[in-house]
Symmetry: C2
Subunit: 425 residues, 2 copies
């Protein structure tokens, strides 16, 4: 993609209404645009990153047998009355509205009451279980204070997976499978999330969250020595940094963190009021046991910016960066040299794309090196390659990774293979 054709531009000005680092950087880099508090448009660069996160989530849900559906956002009142959520939490959380003839609708903020009647229509033998259904759609919340950029929106993207079982043991087995899938999702995204024990909220039982440590996090978690398990403050009241871990495995470190995913045992909270019962293989009628499992791709994207940026801009890992490579060609006053720069850059652009590397080529003429480098740092693609008179004097391209490391020169004849090897690392 030629940057001269990208319709968005970066901005040096800090947006007046940015309420967080993620909002500020994503807006300045042209990834998103704020339409209202908690309501964002995803522009080409932001759209690409969001879609990559969604694709990783989708792939891992498919691996564990999830079947993808798309449920509506605009939903009639009726299904929400079964478990009482039309009134509790009701308008506190759900946008409610009237259509023609006074018909009442709500905008889905979750989907237990929508998916359960559908599964109930089809799953009527024990052989049909477990049933694993998910969707990746925008959800809506009537937030009292929409803030923190795309971390907490009134409209936000959400992957919600629901599982249906005939025994608690089967539910527990699948719960661990989802936890494993979530670990893979976050690893592929480059998000260092920690599996965290948490309160079950309105559902009673314990649940788990995936928490990403970052200074701007709203949650407080207590992490074990191995840094692979933590406890949310809400379940370990009075604990302090350095105290013994609740499981006796050593001491805990207090960290601020952002929740990027959660898994919940639902028990029969929704299946009981919806009268979803099936006879199990022993001939015993069981009220179906459910679990629900969420990851918010837009929230993950915001959390990544919070945790991975510096004073120059964002720092995207390979798998979710909008493009892998920022190819920057510089100006020369010598027309012959300029032509060489442009033809080398153009050829490299085409070669890399043919090899499956995604390239944003800053081909803009009349823009000085300083602003070009500042743009590359702000947008934060993982690898920057510079073609200039200086690098061509060495038959080379300048190589610089956004996450750190030294600049180096790579010979023109080697650059393509080296990029491909780097991408496959």
């Amino acid at each position: 993609m030629k940057q001269s054709r990208l319709f968005t531009k970066t901005s040096k000005e800090m947006p007046a209404d940015a309420d967080s680092a993620n909002a500020r950087l994503l807006i300045q880099a042209g990834f998103v645009d704020q339409l209202a508090a908690g309501i964002y448009s995803f522009l080409p660069l932001g759209h690409r990153t969001l879609e990559k996160i969604k694709t990783i989530v989708r792939e891992e849900m498919d691996v564990i047998g999830g079947q993808e559906v798309t449920l509506p956002a605009l939903t009639p009142k009726e299904p929400w009355t079964a478990a009482g959520r039309w009134t509790e939490p009701g308008k506190e959380v759900m946008f409610q509205l009237e259509g023609r003839s006074g018909k009442e609708f709500g905008l889905a903020f979750t989907a237990e009451e929508l998916v359960t009647p559908i599964v109930k229509k089809f799953a009527n033998s024990y052989k049909d279980f477990p049933v694993l259904v998910y969707q990746i759609t925008d959800k809506f919340r009537n937030e009292p204070r929409a803030k923190s950029g795309i971390l907490r929106g009134r409209e936000f993207s959400m992957k919600d997976l629901y599982s249906f079982h005939l025994s608690e043991a089967d539910r527990a087995l699948f719960y661990d499978k989802v936890a494993e899938a979530y670990h893979k999702v976050f690893k592929r995204c480059g998000v260092p999330a920690i599996y965290t024990e948490a309160d079950g909220g309105s559902f009673g039982d314990a649940s788990h969250e995936f928490q990403m440590p970052t200074e701007s996090g709203e949650d407080l978690i207590y992490v074990n020595d191995a840094k692979d398990y933590a406890w949310n403050r809400e379940i370990v009241e009075g604990i302090k940094n350095g105290d013994q871990a609740p499981d006796g495995s050593g001491t805990v470190t207090e960290m601020k963190a952002i929740e990027v995913g959660n898994i919940f045992p639902l028990g029969t909270k929704f299946s009981a009021p919806l009268d979803f019962k099936v006879t199990d293989e022993n001939g015993v009628e069981q009220t179906v046991i459910m679990g629900s499992y969420g990851i918010g791709p837009s929230r993950v994207m915001g959390a990544m910016v919070e945790a991975m940026h510096d004073d120059k801009g964002m720092i995207w890992p390979k798998n979710v960066a909008p493009y892998h490579v920022h190819l920057v060609s510089l100006h020369s006053k010598d027309e012959q040299i300029l032509n060489r720069i442009n033809s080398v850059a153009s050829e490299l652009h085409d070669d890399l794309i043919t090899a499956g590397v995604e390239v944003l080529w800053d081909d803009r003429v009349g823009v000085n090196p300083g602003p070009k480098f500042a743009d590359a740092d702000l947008i934060g693609l993982p690898l920057r390659l510079v073609v200039s008179e200086k690098t061509l004097n060495e038959d080379s391209v300048e190589w610089k990774e956004r996450a750190g490391g030294e600049m180096s020169l790579v010979k023109l004849e080697d650059i393509k293979d080296q990029v491909i090897a780097w991408l496959a690392e």
Copy 2:
């Protein structure tokens, strides 16, 4: 995909509330579920077909330089007041609601007022034009009578592309490019759509629709002899079947049809009230000229069912069928033969998937051939392959295309290559 794992099932019963052939067949085959009038859930098979249509649309939009974004569905009142649409059509078309503190929102039914201010922020030099932006998201309409299944929903998927130009000539040039891209989209989907001259509606100028002839269509069009151009009744009042074509090119045939796409010149209807002006390359300030271009993937899916079904079920073309092949393995009372049937089917399933062929394998045990064949006809995958005692006696698989043609036997050693060749046709 093993059919025994697919959580949906077909139904022999006609749904009581189906208002059209597409609703009836899509519900019976388990592609969709109706939540309320005009509001449908897309279940795994329907979700796959809808995503395939969206992917084809996306690819062709990218070819003509479209840049994909995702704009919100939940939008504040303010942008909609600029061109007056908050009140006209207002609630007649737009779902409107209140959030906390009485803040007014509308659910986007289109996005001119959302996308124009964004493009205005970035495009301020003639070098930035044209700008071509699109999204594929769900839109919402407060329909007085939601009907015709997924053809006319309260919530529906819509690809909306917007173009921005500094001259009418450039706009007209792009208009033709979009028309060409739309022809490609419909050709790839297997939809025989006819380019149809239509009224510009509230935008004044003439516009074009893509109309798919089918008996259940709501529109009446007059098609030329070459069957590649038509006129919507609204612009040729009083014309009759067999009359001379408006362009003098012969006679016209009257047909019922469903609109599956449209392209509109917008002029300055939105850019003028939003004060979007840019100095062109001649130094003259121009109010930006816009075009808008729609395709509804869910509507296309519904139209395809209307036009392509028989009394047994749906008939999907290869490119948008949820799977390419319906592999059906039959029962045998002889356990040894049954094992052979299942191992041949299993191997073929795996081989085809490895070769990139999408297979739904009806592996259900205890289901008779009759219901299995009825299911295959109802779901309508383009190619049915049967493995049974009878076919294995001939070292063969039975080959039957859903769209017609004879049954034949294909030798086991040839079947994989023949399927791959058929898919590439």
